[in-house]
């Protein structure tokens, strides 16, 4: 790795101060499981890192009304094991349980999981199905960014260079929604997914779909929602045939690359398979 300067702020105000003065050659370092790999492979060589390992005021998992707020420096393992998450957001709990390994989950933070912008990460897939809100701060103030439009490209988000993710908010009572997710790893368990899917369906009392989220990861430059597939489901009962059509639409929106987890063609087809299966599982009894 190239040499770099390392700053170690102790709290949020100090971090924001450093960010306000930072240039294009500065990156934030949280858990390190994402960024340090880029540095070690020499794909990125920032001259300065702002390391958050000493920051103590960006934690916490709290409930306010029906909104769960998770501090950006909470470790993924602690979030997944927290009773609030198990109780109110089981799809997030279950998604987190499959991220990498327990050891990586002890290192990785939610802020990093959201801000790194690698489409192969699992956490944003569930967060997008939950309409999560990214809370970003700079010295100028607080901005709330819905996660659905948050990702622009590989490793690129809507954060400006002086912004820090301080928390993720997940409003809403999801008890009556139906979720289904799949991290499809045909290779081996600790690897990234070939395709990651998270589906959320809401129904009226005649079993017609009133709202849905169909989220895909690992099959394009960003995690994304297939809004065209979601629109197809509106107002209808989820039949085998409808699920198949929606899944095909979603698969057509993917833009995967060949790698050890499959060829682009295989990944596209698996996206179709798993969206269909997740839709049927979520719609099932």
């Amino acid at each position: 790795m190239r040499d770099f300067q390392l700053d170690s702020p102790v709290d949020k105000p100090q971090t924001l101060q450093l960010l306000a003065a930072a240039d294009d050659d500065t990156r934030l370092l949280a858990g390190g499981t994402g960024l340090l790999n880029l540095l070690k492979q020499r794909l990125a060589s920032p001259g300065r890192l702002i390391s958050l390992h000493r920051v103590t005021d960006l934690g916490g998992i709290t409930l306010d009304g029906t909104t769960v707020t998770i501090g950006a420096l909470e470790r993924l393992i602690d979030i997944g094991e927290h009773p609030l998450i198990g109780e109110r957001l089981p799809v997030l709990r279950d998604t987190l349980a499959e991220v990498a390994s327990p050891r990586i989950r002890m290192m990785a933070t939610l802020g990093g999981a959201v801000a790194h912008g690698d489409p192969n990460q699992d956490t944003p897939v569930a967060l997008m199905a939950l309409d999560a809100i990214v809370v970003a701060e700079s010295r100028d103030g607080v901005t709330e960014l819905p996660i659905a439009g948050f990702y622009r490209d590989y490793y690129e988000t809507r954060l400006s260079p002086d912004q820090l993710v301080t928390a993720v908010r997940i409003p809403g009572d999801w008890h009556s929604s139906r979720f289904s997710h799949k991290k499809f790893t045909p290779g081996s368990r600790e690897d990234y997914a070939c395709v990651g899917v998270c589906v959320r369906l809401d129904f009226d009392d005649r079993n017609r779909c009133t709202d849905s989220r169909i989220v895909l990861g690992s099959v394009g430059p960003t995690v994304f929602r297939s809004r065209a597939a979601e629109e197809l489901l509106a107002g209808k009962a989820i039949t085998e045939n409808l699920a198949r059509q929606a899944a095909q639409i979603a698969a057509n929106e993917t833009d995967p690359v060949d790698d050890t987890r499959g060829s682009a063609d295989y990944k596209r087809r698996m996206a179709g398979v798993w969206v269909r299966r997740c839709l049927l599982e979520a719609a099932g009894p």
């Binding site: 880029l38 490209d153 490793y155």
Partner: protein, 150 residues
Amino acid sequence: MRFDQQYTVEQARDLLWSTLMDVHKVAACMQGVEEMIVVDDDRYEGTLMVKMGPVRLRFSGEVMVVTRDADNWIGVLEANARDPKAGGGFKASLEMRLVELTAMQTELTITLDTTFLGRIGELGRPLIKKKINSMMDEFIAALNEQYVTA
């Protein structure tokens, strides 16, 4: 890694051909490339920047015209570039076929075959693929713009 795409260029085939076979003119349309130097009629050197999030890759190399088959309207370019810091690079072969659609429209078929070399690992490849795809689109857009303004 293969890239196959067909484009419609708003220009007569013979004029498009002479543009594509002229490295000076092609260099003028390559916006994604820094420091373009024309070495001779068949070669130019340049640096391709790939920038996404924290990632910075700088590939330095050369592009050569290896085939000019005017009878069949087929041209082939070869590129060879390395990023010494990342310790890897790529080799690409770009074939262009021109088919006349109308007097003022040509169908340009581009077939690009890229091989990654050295240590460009798994994390780097999707970014390079994305960059090459968008460069091709920008190249065609620049070509069309050149003709519209000419």
